[in-house]
């Protein structure tokens, strides 16, 4: 009998905060809203920390209430905590709490302040449900819920048309992924009779090889990957994430960098028992991840919007995580997920601080030379940039290096993944330092900022009279302390977060990933008779050297092109011609999708479903039958003459006919 950890409190606390702020926040002062939002999300974080101290008890299953019972099939509201969900739990609550703090400063002057924090807490609730669920259905609740919260927060400035449609785009694209996820769940119910992680994985690892290889697990794996691709913005469903940058920057940091978009990675890692036995599905995961990493990184190079660069960088880093999962190096993927949450959360928050400083400007071409004006932001962002570029000893170095090494050395790995991964690492370093140089070095290229008009909806000036966070609105200014504190904490984490080291992290997660090790190792032996294991030691050091060199090369190129010789990029762009155009326009993917999927869908809906079926069939049936009834009545109503004797005549005639009929029937 394990002691009760009261896991249910962790997601419910933010939900209570969301409810209080959502229902009553309108009447609260800003300070009260902040107290509620920070109080409940902070309590969840504290709770998660306490649970982490009880780590020796893991795994813990906490059954709250039965939910669905149909025959042998049963789903419960139940939470499950093991090493994997503990890592996610700490990342979500920790980074989430920091971003809550940051948002207080960032959103202070916005209308709908309480609404923002209610949504943010609601998001925390769903994300924690997703992470803690003990079966796929509870996970799916969280999965859908974070989609909802993401939609609400992307469209937070809903009066802005682009924000509203970006929210819709995110939601709809996610639905496509969710569809795949749902079908995977149905397949599991049909073939395994359960959605419980433990039970499903037990059945899966017990399946005989000929059943396991016969497409069932592969199709479940692929469908799960469709879901993951939707949520985690992988090819071909990544298109919503760049648009999602319409949301407030803290939202981009929390949902679209640190936590929600990593849900797909978590789900794949969680379902490792299925993927382990479906090598084809695993290969698809690796290929999609690798391609996405490369593809998004190339787009990132040419973006000029500071948040868009970070968005494509997020997609690219998520690609790394899937690459890791795809070579069955789940712990490396989760390790990168964690460090990425630190440094990408930091980068977004710092970018928010930059945008804040220059008065809502997001175009990097109109920034520059900011390092003297906003030193705190500059130094924290520098930490983040070095971390994502993969310089030792920053956090990103350890996780990225682990992924690249595993991509080559894993039994499922290949030098192709590694090569593309290293090239992407070079690109990553290049575009991140491009951002860094463009933003912080050189001369300031923008006009003097004049407040927040560009990006933000405005509250009346007097509403910030009681603001405890003083804002200088004249000139470039450093952000208030409440925004800097999370930046500094995240910067420290971005520097030190990787010092745990891959080995220790791997060992920590091993109860989750190697639980069914027997079936797993047999499968490996059958699937890949490749030279195993590839030699460690010196070659690993060589690989590390190469990836660090790639990062340094990126730094050097960015320095050359955007600091030393700022006219060079234009010449190169001219030389590249059409290819450059294609990259700037994101390979026209949005346009292609619009032409191939969106337009036929809209046209089909308009012409066939609306004008054809709805108007000409359904509406027409109703209208015509009503019209027909009216026309018939028009004729028939003349029988109602009001003349009593004519009525009597009709009755008599009717009676006569009836009697005649009866007589005729009787005499037959």
């Amino acid at each position: 009998m394990t002691p009760n950890l009261h896991l249910w409190l962790i997601p419910v606390l933010p939900l209570v905060g969301a409810a209080i702020n959502g229902f009553f926040g309108k009447r609260f002062s800003r300070q009260t809203v902040v107290a509620v939002a920070l109080g409940f999300s902070g309590a969840a974080f504290a709770m998660a920390l306490w649970v982490a101290t009880q780590a020796s008890l893991l795994p813990v299953l906490e059954n709250l209430a039965p939910w669905i019972r149909a025959g042998d099939f049963q789903v419960d509201f139940a939470f499950y905590l093991d090493q994997l969900s503990l890592v996610m739990l700490l990342v979500v609550t920790g980074v989430g709490f920091l971003i809550h703090i940051y948002s207080v400063g960032y959103m202070w002057e916005e209308a709908g302040f309480y609404r923002f924090f209610a949504y943010l807490n609601l998001f925390m609730f769903f994300m924690l449900t997703l992470v803690l669920g003990s079966n796929y259905l509870v996970m799916f609740i969280g999965w859908e819920g974070v989609g909802l919260a993401s939609y609400l927060l992307i469209g937070f400035w809903f009066t802005k048309d682009s924000a509203a449609s970006a929210g819709k785009k995110a939601f709809i694209v996610n639905r496509i992924g969710d569809f795949g996820f749902l079908i995977a769940l149905f397949l599991m119910i049909k073939h395994f009779g359960s959605l419980n992680f433990v039970q499903v994985f037990r059945v899966v690892s017990g399946l005989p090889a000929e059943v396991a290889g016969a497409g069932l697990l592969t199709s479940i794996g692929l469908l799960l990957m469709v879901g993951a691709a939707g949520k985690s913005a992988q090819i071909p469903l990544y298109i919503w994430l760049p648009d999602a940058m319409e949301g407030p920057t803290p939202v981009s940091a929390l949902i679209h960098a640190a936590t929600m978009v990593t849900a797909g990675v978590y789900m794949v890692a969680r379902s490792h028992a299925i993927f382990d036995r479906a090598p084809q599905a695993l290969m698809v995961v690796a290929i999609i991840g690798t391609l996405t990493a490369l593809f998004a990184a190339t787009i990132g190079i040419c973006q000029t919007d500071i948040k868009k660069v970070l968005a494509y960088s997020t997609i690219s880093q998520l690609g790394y995580m899937f690459m890791a999962c795809g070579v069955a190096a789940y712990s490396a993927g989760i390790f990168h997920l964690m460090t990425h949450a630190f440094f990408k959360g930091l980068l977004f928050l710092a970018a928010g601080s930059v945008i804040h400083a220059v008065g809502g400007e997001q175009d990097m071409r109109r920034m520059g030379g900011l390092r003297h004006h906003i030193p705190w932001t500059f130094w924290t962002m520098t930490a983040g940039t070095f971390a994502i570029a993969g310089f030792p000893p920053f956090a990103g170095f350890f996780s990225k290096d682990a992924i690249l090494w595993r991509a080559y050395s894993s039994p499922y790995g290949s030098w192709v993944y590694w090569a593309i991964g290293v090239f992407t690492a070079f690109l990553t370093s290049f575009y991140m330092f491009r951002l860094w140089f463009l933003t912080f070095f050189g001369e300031y290229r923008g006009e003097a900022p004049a407040g927040h008009e560009d990006e933000h909806l405005h509250v009346a000036k007097d509403s910030r009279a009681g603001a405890p966070v003083p804002h200088g609105h004249d000139g470039i200014h450093e952000s208030p302390k409440i925004m800097l504190v999370p930046l500094v904490i995240l910067a420290v984490l971005s520097v030190c977060g990787g010092w745990v080291g891959m080995e220790r992290f791997d060992k920590f997660l091993s109860p989750t990933f190697h639980a069914g090790a027997t079936a797993y190792s047999e499968e490996v032996a059958v699937a890949t008779p490749a030279p195993q294991p590839k030699e460690q030691g010196s070659s690993e050091a060589l690989f590390t050297g190469i990836s660090v060199f790639a990062a340094a090369l990126g730094l050097f190129l960015a320095w050359l092109l955007y600091y030393r010789r700022p006219q060079l990029p234009q010449e190169i762009a001219k030389a590249l011609g059409g290819f450059y155009e294609a990259v700037v326009h994101k390979y026209y993917v949005d346009e292609i999708y619009a032409a191939v999927f969106v337009k036929p869908l809209i046209d089909g809906s308009t012409r066939v479903l609306w004008q054809g079926i709805d108007r000409d069939v359904i509406d027409a049936t109703l209208d015509n039958s009503a019209e027909g009834a009216r026309e018939v009545s028009d004729v028939v109503r003349h029988m109602q003459s009001g003349n009593l004797r004519s009525y009597a005549g009709w009755i008599a005639a009717g009676a006569a006919v009836l009697i005649a009929y009866m007589i005729w029937m009787g005499t037959r």
């Binding site: 109503r637 003349h638 109602q640 003459s641 009001g642 003349n643 009593l644 004797r645 009597a648 005549g649 008599a652």
Partner: protein, 100 residues
């Protein structure tokens, strides 16, 4: 003993007279009397059958019909008085306000 058919023919004639009077006459009171005539025609056939088959139910029916007819004439006469008060006429052709 008078054969059954005689009663039935008389009953038919009475009923036909009632129908004819109902259709032809315009005065509401005359129409009302025609209804009574039809009822009594039917009553006659009931008692004739009852006597023929020595079954009491026919007689019981007649009592019911007479009771209902009495009640109906009370209500009907009240309506006729009400119609006369409001419309000032007992001609059914002029009492046709319910038509479209």
């Amino acid at each position: 003993m008078v054969p059954l058919s005689y009663y039935l023919v008389l009953s038919g004639i009475l009923f036909a007279c009632g129908v004819a009077g109902f259709l032809i006459k315009r005065n509401i009171i005359t129409i009302f009397m025609s209804i009574e005539l039809m009822l009594n025609g039917v009553n006659l056939s009931f008692v004739a059958f009852a006597a023929q088959w020595h079954a009491l139910s026919g007689q019981v029916f007649v009592f019911f019909v007479m009771v209902v007819a009495a009640a109906e004439s009370a209500v009907g006469l009240a309506i006729i008085i009400a119609v006369y008060r409001t419309r000032g006429t007992l001609n059914v052709d002029q009492v046709d306000l319910l038509k479209l």
